[in-house]
Symmetry: C2
Subunit: 222 residues, 2 copies
């Protein structure tokens, strides 16, 4: 309240964008913690420091908050990924960079990114279609790095690129459910672990030396 009073005499209307961004951040936190439907506009207003009614000066409705934070999250990760793809020397290097940027970008913007991934189902109509479109575009970029690596002979070709890509997204995305910034594992360290597991697998070197090719044939469980 006092903050708003202070800012308001700097210039009328200048704080609108800032207020909106704060609303987005707070909405993301609540949507992620309790779910979109279970989060009330009352609580968002309280945490932003406004009365319920005042929210509607900045937004059309609750769903716009969800929509805008999904767009924010996807634009950020898309930008990060595009950088990384244009830098690497070979497919493995590009993939490591991509994983690094995906993980750090996702965790730097954790609430928005998690909400985007989980609460897509709560969006409706054109807003929903657009978020899906952006998400698919991102996943296609990841798929390109994988497919390129296969063409270069650097990634295994005995699994369809589609499934190698989905495996990678599995490995990266579920992290949002357990990553805890309070624990002593940095996003950078985590991205190294995930890169290593994805690229090399978990078998020990000894295990790879003998019987490597033979083992490939007996993968099915009883």
């Amino acid at each position: 309240m006092t903050d708003q009073a202070r800012v308001s005499h700097v210039g009328a209307g200048e704080d609108a964008a800032g207020t909106f961004q704060r609303m987005l951040a707070i909405a993301a936190r609540l949507f992620w913690a309790k779910g979109y439907a279970a989060t009330t506009t009352r609580e968002i207003a309280r945490l932003v420091g406004l009365q319920k009614g005042s929210l509607y000066h900045h937004i059309e409705g609750k769903e716009e908050l969800l929509y805008r934070l999904c767009i924010d999250a996807l634009e950020r990760v898309q930008e990060a990924a595009e950088q990384s793809v244009h830098q690497g020397t070979d497919a493995t290097d590009r993939l490591r960079r991509l994983i690094h940027h995906h993980v750090t970008s996702m965790l730097a913007d954790r609430d928005k990114h998690a909400t985007m991934l989980i609460e897509l189902r709560s969006l409706t109509g054109e807003r929903r279609s657009e978020v899906i479109r952006l998400r698919d575009r991102y996943e296609a970029l990841v798929g390109e790095v994988i497919a390129e690596g296969q063409r270069e002979g650097i990634f295994r070709a005995d699994i369809e690129p589609r499934y190698l890509t989905l495996s990678l997204l599995n490995l990266l995305n579920w992290t949002i459910f357990w990553f805890d910034p309070e624990r002593p594992l940095s996003p950078e360290a985590l991205s190294q672990i995930l890169s290593t597991v994805y690229i090399e697998g978990v078998s020990s070197l000894a295990g790879r030396a003998d019987g490597w090719r033979q083992d490939r044939t007996k993968r099915a469980p009883g």
Copy 2:
């Protein structure tokens, strides 16, 4: 309705358990599709074929549905995993069996399992604690298979077992977000792909042959 009439003269009250199970299955489908908070008891009642009020003969409240289907999902996957762990010949074999059972059990019971994973946040109090306890117990079992493999020298020891375990759960669990029973990829085929990626990694054999050890040191992206 006709079903209920038919069953009801077999023995009064015998259909109660059956009705409850149908309620669970329908609730799971709706909770997964739209979220727990966004699903109304009215809609559950409509799909079950009862009036709203009649639901409360079988349940205390909406949250009980969520709680019971979480328990169902976790008990099923726990049972499947325990079987697989007692069968394998070595750690790799046990892990392949575990992955197979995790994936097939999860996808056979997709709505319940997905809801359990996503909507835990909507449970409160003791119910929530108990589901968390069961989930942690399951994850500990997975962790044991990994740690055992490390002690046997079959899995790599340069990554803490905790993170190898979380990597595996990442790789398996995110599948619920995209697996589509309509597509021509069976849960069995998927579990083979995920096993292979996790155990062997995505590098081609050529990539492993030369410079294998050296590559290990330069994992960090720019």
